[in-house]
């Protein structure tokens, strides 16, 4: 009998407390104040589990073609470096100001200071990158490039990202130089 009163009462109090906090405006929303560890873990887990589930069935094309590297490299240089940097660049206004901080893609994934879920599988890491580029991530600053770019172009960027951590500044410049014939036609 007591349970029938205590459990609903506790749930109601918790709901009232949660709504009160929500409407109080006390949570700091500025990008210059990090989330609490608990909030960060919840959001990161939510993100990684969602991406892993949504991307698990994607079919990966051959990512070793030089034409894909050239097409993806030129697009990366135009669209991504302001946040995700390029060889020889340590930071930018965007890489410092965004929260969560965009990963430095010139580094191997092991060197990133956030979780990528279970990406020990290289193929799953490629699927994850494709999905993120195509669909973006809510409230992170990462846009959904799939609205304006077809899958072929996005896979080309994934192909380039696989090689990016090993590229020197000179190699990066040569591969990303856009001469008007980036290899892939649309």
């Amino acid at each position: 009998m007591k349970c029938k009163i205590i459990i609903p009462s506790t749930l109601a109090l918790a709901a009232i407390a949660g709504l009160s906090f929500l409407y109080s405006g006390l949570y700091p929303m500025g990008a210059d104040v990090p989330h609490t560890k608990l909030t960060y873990w919840v959001l990161e887990t939510l993100r990684e589990r969602s991406i892993a589930r949504a991307s698990s069935k994607l079919q990966i094309p051959d990512l070793n073609s030089p034409a894909m590297l050239l097409a993806g490299g030129a697009d990366y240089n135009d669209m991504c470096t302001s946040c995700h940097l390029k060889p020889g660049q340590q930071k930018s206004d965007m890489s410092q100001g965004l929260y969560p901080q965009p990963p430095n893609l010139t580094k191997d994934t092991d060197d990133h200071d956030h979780s990528h879920g279970d990406n020990s599988d290289i193929d799953q890491a490629a699927r994850r990158q494709f999905w993120i580029i195509k669909h973006g991530i809510k409230a992170s600053g990462m846009p959904a490039w799939g609205l304006t770019h077809d899958d072929e172009r996005i896979w080309a960027m994934v192909a380039f990202l696989k090689k990016l951590p090993q590229l020197t500044e000179q190699q990066y410049q040569i591969i990303t130089a856009r001469k008007g014939n980036s290899g892939m036609q649309h």
Binding site: D78, I174, I175, R178, K179, H186
Partner: protein
């Protein structure tokens, strides 16, 4: 007067809708960002495997560059370019 304002507003909305459909991210929008690859830097990369996709991509970029040079009548380095083309043909 109100009808005129309404027409202007409707025309504006229609123009916005039409322009949004052509706002795809096209490569032609990058024409102002074109730059030449620094192929001279490849001279210091002799240790690279020529079957490596990165090396093959760079060779493709720079072989195109050399082709462009020929088209512009730059014959001063003809022997060097010929050598490069022989190297590239093996991997294309």
């Amino acid at each position: 007067m109100k009808k005129i304002n309404l027409k202007i507003a409707l025309t504006g909305i229609a123009l916005l809708l039409v322009s949004s459909t052509v706002f795809a991210h096209d490569r032609s929008k990058h024409k102002g960002k074109q730059e030449a690859p620094d192929c001279e830097a490849m001279k210091d990369m002799d240790h690279m495997d020529k079957m490596d996709p990165v090396m093959m991509a760079m060779m493709e970029q720079c072989s195109d560059e050399h082709d462009d040079d020929h088209e512009h009548g730059d014959n001063d380095h003809e022997d060097k370019h010929d050598d490069d083309h022989h190297g590239n043909d093996e991997h294309h």
